[in-house]
Each structure stands twice: as structure tokens, then as C-alpha cells.
Symmetry: C2
Subunit: 348 residues, 2 copies
């Protein structure tokens, strides 16, 4: 491990312009180009010396002897952590974004809007993780008979999210029985969390006092099953503008690209990553190998959690090549997360 040598202000400045140039046109940056771009009146030779230092520090590397320098993962990390000064988005743009997120749209519509918004404005792939259901509250349930042994269960959580499921039952139930069961559940459990309801229901089942008549027990089981499902289906995301990634030269390797797109479809790797980002407070950035997954080598993620009622509900962000324009993208992701949170809050 190299001793943590302090980097001169000038070297930092040069490094910053190097990264900016590389982000801009994807070509390794040579000393001459850097001299011109930096504006500091240095000679190429001096710059070369400094580059050599930066290379020793692991911030840059050159693809081959006669090429310019390219930022390493560590380089990008240093860049975003200490060199970047992110300007908040100007009012006008924020309003434009806001107009894309109709708070009266339903949940799925909102998530899609956010994702396409992200992808279209950054020209990268946009993603929005579905909100967690853990701290959701039960609002209303209803049973609709489909046939003798099949019932459509519709329930509402979080004040506006509608879910439904078909449940198989042993014997036909009359509409009034179903109505009674729904009334019981609605009266008893409105406003509670699924966990609380679950345990209450289990207790009810166990005590099984005969006063709770036969069909009520089945109703309890039914709701149990319906809620049970919800846990599993929690993890998912919306992804948009994947095709934007194909524009980048560094994605030209078809094999690699296919594995990447495959990972998008299989979901679990990306979900893992998003889960990590969910525990962070603000904008979180994963650069290339930092993700821990081979497939995401060469890709960066800029994510931000969005929250509903003060609690982190989910994560959104963009995926792009490591040389994505962090300065521009970070505030966009940041604002979108806040706006989505606000729109969802508005919804409740």
C-alpha cells in the first residue's frame, strides 16, 4: 500500500481537467492536450512529470506506452469525492422535471415516469426501484367471488396502492359471508402494518376460540396468504433507456454488453447494488469494479434513495459508462429522487 502522499494543488487541478476531458470525449489525454485544456501555462514535459506521479499514486494509467492517460477507478473515486463541486439544478429545470411527475398518477405510472425522465435527460439508462413495502399500512380489503372455489382478493395498502390476488377456497362462500369477513378485517386492522396484522392473525388462529366461527378462520387464512405473497414480490425495479448504453465506445464488446443486459433482466445483481444504496443517506456512486460484480465493470451507478414520510422507501438512479458526466448527472439524480418522494408523499 502506497504511503498517502499529499497531492499538490496544481496536480489536482491538472487531474481534474484530465478527467473532465476524458469524460467529454473518451480519448486518452496526452500531456500536450492537457497543457492546452488546463490553461495553466505549463510545458508538456512538466505535465508529463506530474502525470508520472499521478500514475504512481494510482489515479491514472495509460492503455499503452504511446497513449495519453486515463483515469483509474481510484481516480474517478478521488474525482467525485473531493474534486467535484456539484451545482444544484436551476429552478427552471426543476420545474420542468416536476411537470413530468404527475402526483395524481398511480404508483406504477409515477415510477415509470421517473425512470424515463432519468434516462431521457441523462441519455443513460434510468432505473427506479419499487418502494419497500415493509412499513406499509393496511387500509382496506375486499373479497369478490369468482367461482365456487375461487375468490378475488383486493386490498389497498399505503392509502393508494392496490394489490390483488386469486385465492382458492375449500367450499363456496355466500356474498354476505364474504362481506362479513371483509368488514371484520377492515374494522379490526385498518391502519396497521402487515407484520402486526400477521402476528395478530396468527394469534387469533392459535387461540381459535370457537366464538370465531369457521368461516372467519378461513378469512384469516386467506388474508394471511394474500399478505404472505407481498413480501416476496417486494424486490423489483423499472429500467429504461438501456439502449442508450450502446452508444458508448467502451461498450462495443458485444459479449460484455450481452452479459450486462442479461444482468438487467435477471435483476438480482442490480437489486443487491440498489439495496446497498438504499442504506446511504444521499447520492451514492458506484464506480466500475466497486460494485463487486464483474458484469458491471466499466459501468458506473449514480443513485439516490427517495423517501416517503421521512423514511427511505426506495432507490433510483442511472447506469452509464464509468466516464459518465458526474457533475451533470449527480444533481439530476438527486432532484429526481426528491421529486419522486414528494410526488409519492402527495399521493397519500
Amino acid at each position: 500500500m502506497a504511503k498517502e502522499t499529499a497531492i499538490s494543488v496544481r496536480a489536482q487541478q491538472l487531474f481534474k481537467t484530465l478527467v473532465e476531458r476524458y469524460i467529454h470525449d473518451g480519448q486518452p489525454v496526452g500531456s500536450a492536450a492537457l497543457v492546452e485544456a488546463s490553461g495553466l501555462g505549463l510545458s508538456p514535459a512538466t505535465v508529463r512529470n506530474i502525470m508520472s506521479d499521478l500514475e504512481k499514486l494510482g489515479l491514472v494509467m495509460s492503455p499503452h506506452t504511446s497513449a495519453g492517460r486515463v483515469p483509474t477507478t481510484q481516480g474517478y473515486r478521488f474525482f467525485v469525492d473531493t474534486l467535484l463541486s456539484v451545482e444544484p439544478l436551476d429552478e427552471r429545470q426543476v420545474h420542468k422535471f416536476m411537470s413530468e411527475l404527475d402526483p395524481d398518477d398511480n404508483l406504477s405510472g409515477l415510477l415509470h415516469s421517473a425512470s424515463t425522465l432519468l434516462s431521457s435527460v441523462t441519455r443513460l439508462a434510468g432505473m427506479v426501484m419499487l418502494p419497500r413495502r415493509e412499513q406499509s399500512t393496511f387500509r382496506h380489503i375486499e373479497f369478490l367471488p369468482l367461482s365456487d372455489n375461487r375468490i378475488l382478493v383486493i386490498w389497498v395498502i399505503n392509502e393508494q396502492e392496490v394489490q390483488n390476488r386469486i385465492v382458492i377456497i375449500d367450499r363456496p362462500w355466500s356474498p354476505s359471508e364474504l362481506q362479513q369477513a371483509a368488514n371484520y378485517l377492515n374494522a379490526e386492522f385498518a391502519g396497521q402494518s402487515p407484520q402486526a396484522i400477521r402476528s395478530a392473525l396468527l394469534k387469533e388462529l392459535r387461540s381459535a376460540r370457537k366464538s370465531v366461527n369457521d368461516f372467519m378462520i378461513t378469512a384469516v387464512e386467506m388474508a394471511e396468504r394474500a399478505f404472505g405473497e407481498q413480501q416476496e414480490q417486494a424486490d423489483d425495479y423499472v429500467l429504461d433507456g438501456q439502449s442508450n448504453l450502446m452508444k458508448y465506445a467502451e461498450m462495443a464488446d458485444m459479449e460484455k454488453l450481452q452479459r450486462l443486459f442479461d444482468a438487467f433482466e435477471r435483476k438480482h445483481k442490480l437489486l443487491n447494488l440498489l439495496d446497498q444504496a438504499a442504506s446511504a443517506q444521499g447520492v451514492q456512486i458506484f464506480i466500475g469494479e466497486e460494485s463487486g460484480y464483474q458484469v458491471f465493470d466499466g459501468c458506473s451507478f449514480v443513485t439516490a434513495p427517495y423517501s416517503v414520510e421521512g423514511k427511505t422507501a426506495g432507490v433510483l438512479g442511472v447506469i452509464g459508462p464509468t466516464r459518465l458526466n458526474y457533475e451533470r448527472v449527480i444533481p439530476i439524480v438527486d432532484v429526481t429522487a426528491k421529486l419522486l418522494g414528494a410526488a409519492l408523499n402527495n399521493n397519500r
Copy 2:
């Protein structure tokens, strides 16, 4: 236009093996290879003569002078229309497929299952168009107050499909008023089609006899708005396994591939195509340029409509390179359409 010359049986046989070989390994097929593959004891020279004839007929072409022959779009068309003898899938596989489509899953789950089933078993991209809502029947509606001026409307159509929407209202309504409104709509319109309900509601509104009290009118408007939306959201599809397409050499052109993937995201071109396929009776095949869209050059579609209660409800199928294995894929698409239809029917 060339005179419709009859093609000798032998020429057809040769052409068939040519297509099969090309489908198998994607390389232009030369006369020598054809001699070997066909099993007919001919000399390469003879085969060359025949190839020259087929080329005049427009069934094959050669990428350049010293390459073998490749089927043209017309060639594929001839192949699938008259040369192909499609074997139905064997019992065992059909059962395996069936087990992938859980009839107790909800609509969206079923569609996704069908699409991933298609893509995984054909190793192409699988797509399933959402069922049309035109001939849907209203089953049940319910109003849930969210805040003073916002109401969550939940309604069920087609016996098991749940939709919901938030509606803004002018003044607060009491729960019992909402209940009354729902009761009225449920009692009056259960089992009817949206069109019928719509016109009935409009008539109701126009007559506006004062016996229908104030809030009932708003209820009517509310349901109107809710149903109104449904029309628009009708057209959509589920797409899976896009990344499979990247395996094929003929898709190597990144520019073209990006346009293709972009078309998948924008949806309307593919939807147009699927709409055409919906009016056909059985398996429908679009080969390359036949689709009418530049983006789909080099791609073929194998589609089949699936029907619910005897009526075509939607279309599903696969997308692949023109040299996809029609013989294998056609029965798969065919069966999947039937199974999906059956599963959906079961659902009602």
C-alpha cells in the same frame, strides 16, 4: 416480374437443405457443402447450375462472387409457406410448458411467464401483447376516500382484472355516500361492456332528472373518467430475453442493434406489427423487410394470437434473426398461445 416458373422437386429439395444449413450455422452455403448435406448423389457443378436458377427466381443470393448462397426474404417466405412441415410438439413438452403457466397467477404474472417461457425455450426475444380490453365486462367498482378531494377508485373487469385510479372531486363525500354510489353502479351495470356503460351513463347525465341526486351525477362522472382512461392504456406488451438477440452474428452492427432496441422501448412499431398479426387466424410470420419497418430488417417475427372465450384477445410470439429455426419455433409459439389462452380462460 419474373414468370412463375415451376421449380423442380429436386431443386426444392436442394433449396430446403440450403435453408436448413444456413439456419443452422449462419454461413453462406456452397455447392460442395450442399452436395454433401443433401445426400442426393449430385456433382457440385450440377448443384451450381440449379443454384443459378434459384438465384434467377429470387430465392437465393450470394453476398459476393466467391461466397456460397444465402436465402433471400422471398426464399424464406417460400420455405416457410410450402417447404416446411411443422411437427406438433410432443405431449411431454406441452406439459412442461403448461406447468410454467400457473392459471392461478394474476394477469400480469401470466403474461410475464408466457414471455419468459418463449424467450428461454427459443433463445430468442419473447413478447406477449396485453389482451385487448374492448370486449371486457364490468364486474365491480368501489370508492375509497383518500383525502377531502381525492378518491381512490378500484374496479374489476373481466372477472379478475383489477384496475385503479385516483380521481379528484370538488367536495368531500361521506363514506356512506360513496358506498351508495358504488352500490348503484354495481347493481345497475354489472356484466355490461364499458361501451354500453359509457353510453348509458352519458344518457343518464343528459336526462339529468332531478330524482338522480347531485352526488349520483358526480359518481357517474367519476366512473366515466375512470373508464375513459382504460381505452388509452390498452396497447402495451411484455418483452423478454432481448439480450438473446445479441448472440447472432448478423446483429453485430451496434448502430442497427441500438435502433432495434430503441424500437422495442418506443413500442409503437412493434405494436403495429402485433396488431396486424392479431387479425390473422393462426401462426403468422413476418420475415425481414416484410414488416415494413427499416429497423426490423434482418429480423423475423413468429406470432400467434391467443384467444379468450373464443375471441382473439391478444398476440404473442418471438423475435429473432431472419435465419431463426422456424421449424422448431413455430410449434412452440403455437402451443404457447393456446396454453396462455387456456390459462386465461381458466381464470374467469
